[in-house]
Amino acid sequence: MNVSIIGKALLEHLQIVFTGIAAGCLVGIPTGSLLRGHKKVAKIVFVIVDIIQTVPTLAMFTFVMLIFGLNNSTVIFSIFLYSLFPIVRNTYVGIMGVDQGAIRAGRGLGMTKMQIYFQVELPLAFPVILSGIRLALVSALGIATTGVLIGASGLGMPIWRGIQTRNMSMMLSGAIPVSLLAVLFDVLLSTLEKRLSR
């Protein structure tokens, strides 16, 4: 197993994860924001994303596979579904937690609703939202690893091959990078969160 193969697997792994999480943000942040002020709808949405979150990975792959087939798209879509729970919930909590005084100040100064959302609410809620993204991202790294079982690429492949061929170094060449990635993203995003919340 040479470095270029691991490098390629790593890039594919990141591509799968980021595409899924990006989709999760694109859908999750607006959804979480729109739920503000609609407590009943919020409850229903939370139940739905919570159920999605509870489905075991392989079962999820099975369902999604029916639509996308045996490839990376199935893994990406599954990651997207799993990421909804932390991102929607944290966006909702973050937006709800914005100081009413700040919103009133924004209104009083003559900001439109959109200006208040983008210039006041979203920036102030962002540390909380980021924390949701971090949770989603770290667990997505793990989900992407199991993607190898349904024929997806990524760092799961060297691990799986290593297991099948009793090749310890091959297993580690996938396991070590994926673990390091998880730790790295966790630390980076936590630091960013802390710096952003004043």
């Binding site: 005084g101 700040a102 100040a105 924004g106 209104r107 009083g108 900001m111 006041v120 102030l124 004043r198």
Partner: protein, 371 residues
């Protein structure tokens, strides 16, 4: 500038504002004051349409504000609120430039205005522009809050308990500053507070509210000397000494007076001042009629050995009759910054003096009671 006509505002059956009629003139600092829940903040928010009335009309410079787009309206009116007035995620510069930016000012125009504003309150731009509100003290933050409201030079500024969360000294300073700024820039300010001291200190007109209605709208003096009913009198509370000021000059004057006649020697005069620890003496004629006063500095600069009091030019001393209200004596002393005010009868005979000390004593009696 602003006129409320039969304005009412209700949440369901709960009337927060009831039949409010009020005229606010241009250039005035009007303070809305009252116990919590009296509708003062609601009244303020009606002006920039953060809340719309359920009945009645509000006119701004003769235009019904319901016909003005709320966002446009708010951008044309300064707004300062308590505590979290500043956005914590924006620098001081970004905070001050919010409204100019909303109005599409160019970068150069914005920067120039921000510098001008910071200079106005004596804050160094280099030091503060790129800091975040959390790096500043409460007083500095609220100063920036006021600057932000002044940024696009609105003729009207609304302030909702802006100094409520500050310590008393900072608060006092900011009250002075805002009063000065208001007079200098000739702004109309509507200011909400629950603190009567603050209202009396800064207001041109105090509007005292209770249960959504105006109880009395008057100048601080008028409110204090002529409260409309018991509620006003009670709310004005400890300031009521003005109300009972039947106290007369003769009640508060000091009758022990250090006086000398014109033929008194200067050396003796100095000795008298030294022994009694006073810096000036009253000068009277043979029949005890007031001629003027003599200060220690006059003696020191002009005296020659052997001269008497009559050889020096005497200072004119303001005087008052014993049956005048004490309040007038106090006003004379504060307005003209006098050390001493003579009390004389109709024939100009000296009866006593009123000093700053007698003023303090008299006030202390009112505040703490007893003699």
């Amino acid at each position: 500038m602003i006129r409320f006509e039969n304005v009412a505002m209700a949440y369901g059956d709960n009337k927060v504002i009831d039949n409010l009629n009020l005229e606010i003139k241009s250039g005035q600092l009007v303070v809305l004051v009252g116990p919590s829940g009296c509708g003062k903040t609601t009244t303020l928010q009606l002006i920039n349409r953060l809340i719309d009335p359920t009945e009645g009309k509000i006119y701004l410079n003769g235009v019904d504000i319901q016909t003005i787009d709320p966002v446009e309206l708010r951008r044309s009116i300064g707004y300062v609120i308590q505590e979290i007035g500043l956005f914590p995620h924006m620098t001081i510069e970004q905070n001050v430039e919010i409204v100019p930016k909303l109005l599409g000012w160019s970068q150069e125009k914005r920067s120039a205005r921000t510098l001008e504003l910071l200079q106005m309150v004596g804050m160094d731009a280099e030091t503060y522009l790129h800091r975040y509100p959390s790096d500043l003290s409460g007083g500095q933050q609220q100063r920036i809050g006021v600057l932000r409201a002044l940024a696009v030079e609105p003729p009207l500024i609304l302030m909702d308990e802006p100094f409520g969360a500050l310590d008393p000294i900072t608060r006092d300073n900011l009250q002075d500053e805002i009063k000065k700024l208001q007079k200098r820039l000739n702004k109309t300010i509507v200011f909400v507070t629950h603190d009567m001291d603050e209202a009396i200190k800064i207001a041109d007109v105090i509007v005292l509210m209770q249960k959504g209605r105006i109880v009395q709208a008057a100048s601080p003096d008028e409110l204090l000397s002529n409260p409309k009913n018991d509620f006003v009198a009670e709310f004005v509370g400890k300031h009521r000494f003005y109300l009972n000021s039947v106290e007369l000059v003769k009640d508060v004057m000091r009758s022990k007076v250090f006086k000398v006649s014109v033929d008194f020697g200067l050396a003796q005069s100095i000795a008298l001042m030294e022994s009694e620890r006073v810096s000036s003496l009253l000068v009277v004629d043979d029949e005890d009629r007031l001629l003027g006063s003599l200060g220690i500095e006059d003696i020191m600069t002009k005296a020659r050995p052997g001269m008497s009091v009559g050889d020096l030019e005497l200072k004119k001393l303001p005087y008052i009759l014993p049956d005048a209200p004490a309040k007038e004596a106090f006003e004379l002393i504060t307005e003209q910054n006098l050390d001493i005010l003579a009390v004389v009868d109709e024939e100009n005979h000296v009866l006593g003096v009123v000093t700053k000390t007698s003023m303090v004593k008299s006030l202390a009696q009112v505040v703490w009671g007893g003699k």
